[in-house]
């Protein structure tokens, strides 16, 4: 018995494929950006750390390290805001 043929599904627009051979380079660049982002958090430059995390997430939306960097930087910012004292 011949299997029923499924109706043709319109092909979804595929994201532009990275040219072969560049994927490891992109991953390496993301790794370098995340290292830089962590340096920013250590220097209390949370604005820059957040911007770096956002850049990584635009390229790699599910990147957990970038999400963690974002969360840590925002927590650091809030801690700094909470430490404001008025005399």
């Amino acid at each position: 018995m011949e299997a029923a043929t499924a109706p043709p599904v319109p092909a979804a627009p595929s994201p532009p494929a990275a040219p072969a051979g560049l994927q490891p380079e992109i991953a390496a660049r993301i790794g370098a950006m995340l290292r830089q982002g962590r340096e920013y958090t250590q220097q209390l430059q949370y604005d820059k750390a957040i911007a770096t995390a956002e850049s990584v997430l635009m390229v790699d939306p599910g990147n957990r390290d970038a999400m963690r960097l974002m969360r840590d930087a925002k927590e650091g910012q809030q801690a700094a805001l909470n430490s404001i004292e008025i005399d």
Binding site: L44, A80, L81, N82, I84, E85, I86
Partner: protein, 231 residues
């Protein structure tokens, strides 16, 4: 009071006078010029402290009492003080209002100055100086003037607040100066912060002022960032 006790109280009063001289504002401003009834006078505070201390502890507590009294006044006068007596503020109001006083309290003037200016760096001390003139109403006198300071971050969220009472009970009309100091620590978001000051007369908000300060990026931070990027 025996001679020894008198000497102790006199010495203490001299010390108190020196202490009171130190409590004037930078630039030699004196507290409550022309109207000491509604302002804390360090000399009076120290004198009362000296007498109370001397009586309570036969002279031994006079110095401590004086110091406590003087320092208590200094804490108040360091940040807020009366600058114009009631008579002057009311006279000024009458001149521009056909000789009449208001029936309800009126804030005749309220100005706020932010120093060092509209742009600040993290860690830099910021001073907010407000000057106000409040006129008592003929039907409702001024019983209390309080100023509230709120700091809003660049997103508009309130991050810090402080309130100070500028007057003592039964204050009446007067001109006042008040100061708030703060620093934005390293790590806070860059952008425009709002400094909101509100003057409360008899518990009700009577006047509000919004000032903006821009937290700017320091060149040294940029250099540090470039060093990190170059590694």
């Amino acid at each position: 009071m025996d001679r020894r006790l008198m000497r102790s109280a006199t010495t203490t009063f001299v010390v108190a006078f020196i202490l009171s001289s130190c409590s004037t504002m930078p630039g030699g401003e004196q507290a409550a010029a022309g109207d000491t009834s509604s302002a804390c006078n360090p000399l009076v505070g120290a004198g009362i402290g000296a007498v109370v201390g001397a009586i309570a502890n036969k002279g031994k507590g006079a110095v401590v009492g004086a110091a406590v009294g003087a320092l208590g006044c200094m804490a108040i006068n360091a940040m807020s003080r009366q600058t114009k007596p009631a008579s002057q503020v009311e006279s000024d109001f009458r001149k521009s209002n056909k000789g009449a006083l208001p029936t309800e309290p009126v804030v005749n003037a309220y100005q706020v100055v932010v120093q060092p200016g509209p742009t600040i760096a993290a860690g830099q001390p910021v001073t907010i100086t407000s000057t106000s003139e409040v006129v008592s109403g003929t039907a409702t006198p001024v019983t209390e003037i309080r100023e509230e300071f709120a700091l809003l971050d660049p997103s508009g969220k309130e991050q810090a607040k402080k309130s100070k009472v500028l007057t003592e009970k039964g204050a009446g009309s007067g001109g006042y100066e008040n100061r708030f100091n703060f620093k934005l620590p390293q790590g806070v978001p860059q952008g425009a912060y709002t400094i909101r000051t509100t003057l409360y007369v008899n518990g009700a908000a009577a006047s509000t002022n919004d000032s903006k300060v821009q937290l700017v990026f320091k060149a040294r931070e940029g250099a540090a960032a470039r060093m990190v990027a170059a590694r």
